[in-house]
Amino acid sequence: MQALTAKELEYLVDSLSNEDLLIKQNAVMAASASNPAIKQLGANMIQTHLQHTQMLLQSIGQHQQFAPTQPQSH
């Protein structure tokens, strides 16, 4: 485990936004769709995206202790 680069942090944060949007879109699909297969798939996908969100948050948290507190020269 090493310090996160600024770029990696950006991707992790962007990915959290993406997963958040997918959770909400799937919730709308699960609630509104009339086709039972699509409805069920929406409900299932919410769970996977919640897992993704946890994994992303965990990764940011794990890297916190390796991060410098002052700007680095390189």
Partner: protein, 141 residues
């Protein structure tokens, strides 16, 4: 096409709802691919790789469900003569590349190995393809 709820609120059709999610899964898979290639930390790279695989599985599941429910029609099949044309043209390119490699002393043509005998054994190719499709188990944790 549009269904009405109790308060006569306009609603997206099932197709539109599913297509919106499908389009975003494609976009997110593409972003995860970029994230993998631009990661420096091995753990972060592995995380993005796992999330990419998981997202591709979701995209595949949703696509299949849409196809089965007639919400998505795949592109029409490529014509046999077009396949033959592309195969011939790319075989010629590959031969030229082999000649190019031989100039550098990389003589052993890898494309001559048995798995690339495409024309003689089309059935074997189908089987390989199916094995690959089944290979995607849930291993993203």
């Amino acid at each position: 096409m549009y269904q009405q709820q109790g308060h006569a609120k306009p609603m997206l059709s099932d197709e539109d709802l599913a297509y919106t999610v499908l389009a975003d899964l494609k976009r997110v898979a593409s972003e995860y691919t970029t994230a993998v290639t631009e990661s420096s930390c091995q753990q972060v790279r592995q995380l993005f790789t796992n999330l990419l695989n998981s997202t591709l599985q979701l995209q595949g599941q949703l696509y299949k469900a849409m196809e089965q429910n007639n919400m998505y029609s795949a592109a029409s099949p490529a014509l046999r003569q077009e396949i033959q044309k592309q195969l011939q043209s790319n075989q010629q390119t590959e031969q030229k590349t082999e000649q190019f490699l031989q100039q550098f002393g990389f003589g052993q043509p890898a494309f001559r190995s048995p798995q690339y005998q495409y024309q003689q054994q089309p059935m074997q190719y189908q089987q390989n393809g199916q094995q690959q499709m089944q290979g995607g188990s849930q291993t993203f944790m």
